[in-house]
Symmetry: D4
Subunit: 249 residues, 8 copies
């Protein structure tokens, strides 16, 4: 494209001044490649991190996005804020457990992905983080299968579902307390595992530090870790991998 | 298969005793699926974690494996140990920087993978960890492209190579000191990033804790983290993803 | 001056008792030099750290200062306290985002400073700290240019403004989460950078510890760090440097 | 006994002076009960913590004990020290892996204990701590069964032995790295588990802190924890429990 | 049992299909052994960890359990929640100090245990944790003796009761602040001690970390530790040991 | 310059192909501005961080630089390495205390700076870090005045020199142990202070953490902090400020 | 006394049974010595740690003590609780800043102590802890002189009072933020200093950890430290020393 | 004295110039009072902290001091260094356990102190720190009584000596591992206790952190704490108190 502009200058189609302006745009294109790459992620909804933003701030951002007619996912929204937002924008659906707001502009994605992501979680108390992960994946148009309450203290519950977990493309494994679940799953499956420590626990759990360290030190290979309680991040990494496996990056 | 056995018992082809023995095997197959799944990872070399093992222990384990005529990768081997091992088993090649020993039984993998993994690293001082990752990927038959010394303090060096990094299936991004590189790369590419903090640094680096926390807290999406200095683990996660992208899981 | 007093004693102009009293003052002058030096900082407003002080305590302190007819800056004032204070002293202006109260006695400083300080910040969530820095600098009569929402995860936004940042005398760079922004800016500018970690983040951020360690370990030279969320301190250091550059220390 | 003495004084068998001396002893008996209770632990060998003591100090202490004709267990003895000690006292046997010195005065205990303690350990790298536990139990005359290399990353190895582990009176479960093994075992057995974290690991393991926190936060009930690498302590607790189960406390 | 089924298939009593269904059950029995082992713990009440569960969730879980006509213990229930639950299920008894809810279906256990567990605690401020331990043991049908306010700063109070403590099967020793009590008790008794650190304290106590470290580092043998404030866990370990001593494991 | 090129294309002085090549260069200039800015720092020596580099690596890098005929500063060089390097490159001067190697190509800087930097340090044990700072500043052609052994425990020593410290442009204040010196100096001077914590101390000093926290929490304004033991970094920040004050940025 | 009893038994004045009872008392005297020693601290008020105790609990304890007609000091009492207590026991005086309740039974101590304790504190924000110390000392009948707001950032304020501080028997030095004040005072006085870190500060202060570490690492001799915010403890240590100096231990 | 000078000026005995010079001295006397106060500590030996100083540095400093004919105490001297120093200055006596060098110029102090300091320590492994304290006190001419190996795990050994400990003026109580000893002693004596944590221990002891936190959190009053392993500091505080009790401050 640079070449074209220069030829147009050479043959007088463009004045140097017009060319300069175009090249300024061109120069920005250097960075716009970022967006171009982002475009490859077509169908990805816009995501807003709701924590620390007021209801009215979220409404403003959402309205700006709705003009673009895109799907929207908002994470970490308290029930109170959600009520205020939904009153203004009724097309949002709020999910209490995952604390997510989702607006579906396109009911169907323009493409179809094979397979599913396994969301595996240790206890019912990790549910909120697990559902943030599940709702995120679903908002990105990815099929999710939930395997909840399969913690290591009652490992037969995990075994009852291990085949279905094995058949997933990638697993998001969520655990609080001692955070041992990813290690056990990691020894039983052959696909990548994204481990999400949660802050569930008490005493020497230190707000999730215990589970975080456990997961980083896992003796099973094929496990990588995201931040404490970061259900969204866990799912996002899994989605990128899932799409790679579908060759529609 | 269980059904078959029972029918054989019903029609007298198997005595109950013979069936019991078979079912015992069958029961073990419940776990053997693990190995079956592992078999899917065909062509994967055997990996030995060399730290804390003596030269003679490593020699014994290696010899047992060589009977299986498989490729072997040994990580974290000091130069002194490597010399002792190579004297006994001359088919091993030692790499000083990555501190890995590799033995190639099959020169060529029986399959061919498209694309490559990007190994991106901040400073020359992270070289040892970066090369552990690179040598690991190569031992698994995966093509690697190295982007070294592209740290954030001189970000133009990173930009000079960003297109080639973008075209990788997955990046392993290694950084010590403040560990900011994965965040910057994460904002510029659309594939998954495995971040490896290193213990390189001094003072308030606290043996890699600083870089580890930075990576876990990255505001860029699509980044997951492995343990400090765990070049092998970073590569292993990337390999799993790379194979998924090649549909040969 | 000591010499003068002694001569006055020698020639009887002062009794030893009168001289003693004067010398007591003189002795205090030893420390009063501090204030003399402080006077060099002419035009500096009085600053009150509002946190942990009640509205009525702040009112009392402010009134005492107003007698001196000086500008006043009060940091860390909650909205509730601000309302109570402004009712009593209407000449205060409250800024909600930075949580500062400012009273301008002199509209114009008696001197003019060339150039400006760049306030650079990563995300909208760091706004409160960034604005505390900006309002501080403005209360000290220093021009400020704001570069907000230029975090490393979308580094092209930073590049769009890098020339204007480069032309500042000094930058105050504010970041939470992984705190990588000062390292990136530090690699692109040649003036001193004061880095301010914020407590924005979650999980393994540990109330700003992550960003603090990142900044202390920066591999870019020319970066020094102040306490977590200390927007005032960041600006104050920048002001001292800015004035040095203006030769009006 | 006090009563006896007083009656003897009353009927003149003891002078008040003689009684006083006896009562002094009696008073000490208040504390001597401690030893009396200790006596209940008959057959327990004398234990010396060898770390930080020189070979000659250990020789002196051992000789004093040998006069009492008791079994002796010395923990944390380096090979070099052991050689020096065994030269002086040839009746000691040194075990390189557990770094223990044992001297058996009585080949057979004067009583017989039913059942055994299970020593379960995750990886070969925890062997040293596991063997310190095993040798300790054996020095106390307790039967030990070893279940080594049954870590959670290959959980089928654990299942292969789970029945024999279940039949133990009590388990000492040793693990480094992420320290998840006690949680898994705890979900499969119904007896008490003493968990021993080891300092084996690297990076964010922080010298065993990771495994320690994991074990303290275990969601399985019936697990209590001793200090990092404290194989002796783990075994000692198990021995006390094992004896209780044998009604020979 | 497997043998029986196979023989029944061989002699036509079972069709292969019926056998398969039975063996499915059998296969699950592999893990059901867990429950079988759990059954050995006959008379153990069902336990619910109340923290993080809503009143209505607890009511639902409790009702499901009541169908099984078992005793129920619910820990960590706030007074407010307890009121709501007791209104619905009046057979629950709430204890304010220990914050436990207990429902006794069987007034008497079907067996009788000899001896008692000592619950020893340092200060009145640790009462809540101590009572959680005591109520837990009582809910499991184990006799408890309480030794409260016997902290090391007034050690004569401990000595006044030491004989009665010594005669227990096992002690649960609870302490906050500096957490030294288990060490002192450990030097005076010969049975196992389960140490429970509490978060009681201030300043450098760091929410129980100080007491936790003290107990892990105890120079007295025979002490193992559970999580901070984990009164239930402390008691549960003691109960397992107490039953072993009663030969009714 | 872009404009010039376009005009040359417009009037045929350049072919579009030649222009494209030039613009490629131009595009790189976007980043080359960095170096242009760096050029403003003319006279700055090349700096090599010597730690973790072998003697032969340092020799290679140095030789490459010597071709550019620039001054060279190498920090963190052990005596042993220095000897090896000086044998090869005799023009290097080694300073044992600061562990720096300096090679002066230009005896005189091409410009002259007014004023000086104060290097203030608490104890003789911080000398190594203080001298690294001092030698760095001198290698950059900046005058340094040393105020050593003026720690807060003997504050009269500080007062004896306070006027000379006050007259510096900027102070680098270095302290280990409790790290209180910057706070005290900060209350007595009106210029910016760069605080450098050192790892000197023992016990609860935790390798400099104590001094680092002290400095970050200083109640004196005008203090910013660099990494533990980072004498070079402290000086570098001071040099940038000193040059600003000299209007030769 | 033991001797007397035995002689009485010998000559029939006491029956063995009567003697036994007496000796039981005697045995307890072994520990009663503690109280005897405590009696040496005559005039010491009873002290109650109010935190974590309800108003009614405090009222009960206080009433029991009032029967003994002693002075009472209650620390850490919130205003709300104090109001409730004073309604029931009007003889209590509440101090809002120190949050102490004091009841004076004896207006005058039966003895007179020479000299005074200096309570030195850095900032107005440490006032609450300083006043807890001051009120404690006064409740123990010890004269106190207050030196407030003499922090190291304005060290001339400290110098203005240094002579009066020097003349104290012992100083309690209280500081938050960077906690440097005890080091400075320690270099200027020759009596013992009890340092009290406070949790005042923000960011990297970590609830007083920063000040605590500073004080423990002080390079001035003659400083010992108590827990964070422990104004009572600081004063109590000072009182013990002050009494020693008055020879009325 | 100021008054005198002024009068001399007034009556011509001093010229203003002479007075100025004298007053300069006088001004310095402001700080010299420090030394004057120090002089009150007459008989105190010079103390050198030997760690981090070379043998030749120590020899130089010692020689300078010997001119002053004072006693000298050097702490933290390794055996190797001590040998080198004693060869040069044979009047030094080295003590291997405490690692102190002492030179006695005056055999007898010019004054006599009543009473003694108790040095109480938990285990033989804390001996080095305990002896550093003891040798320090003796070098200052203070009588010391040693109570070693009286740890809380065998508390009857402590009780055997408690009366003699009670009769000391002040106790220095030293403990590693869990550090509980000061709390126990604190409950039994009525004089001040200086607690010294040691780094003796392993695993979760974290180089003395465990003992340090225990001591800071002691529920016994009258305990203050110095840095880890700081035997000298513990003794120094005790000496200051001991002298106060002797009215020879």
């Amino acid at each position: 494209m640079l070449e074209d502009i220069l030829h147009q200058v050479a043959n007088g189609e463009l004045s140097p001044e017009e060319a300069k302006e175009k090249l300024a745009t061109f120069e920005n294109l250097g960075f716009a490649k970022v967006d171009h790459h982002r475009k490859k992620r077509q169908g990805f909804p816009e995501v807003i991190f709701g924590e620390g933003k007021s209801a009215s701030q979220i409404i403003d951002i959402s309205r700006a996005m709705m003009n673009k007619q895109e799907n929207i996912l908002i994470t970490r929204v308290s029930e109170e804020k959600a009520t205020a937002i939904c009153e203004e924008i009724p097309s949002f659906e709020y999910d209490q457990i995952s604390r997510t707001l989702v607006r579906r502009y396109q009911e169907k994605l323009e493409y179809q992905l094979d397979g599913y992501i396994a969301i595996v979680c240790a206890g019912t108390s990790d549910l909120s983080v697990a559902e943030e992960a599940a709702k995120t994946a679903e908002a990105f148009g990815v099929e999710v299968r939930r395997f909840y309450d399969v913690g290591v203290a009652g490992i037969h519950r995990l075994f009852a579902h291990i085949d279905e977990i094995r058949d997933a493309t990638v697993s998001v494994v969520i655990a609080g307390m001692e955070g041992a679940l990813p290690s056990v799953v990691g020894g039983l499956v052959s696909h990548p595992i994204i481990a999400v420590p949660t802050s569930i626990g008490y005493g020497a759990n230190f707000q999730g530090l215990s589970a975080l360290l456990t997961m980083l030190n896992s003796c099973a290979s094929g496990i990588s870790v995201v931040n404490i309680d970061n259900g969204f991040g866990g799912a996002y990494n899994a989605i990128l991998i899932h799409r790679l496996a579908n060759k529609r990056t």
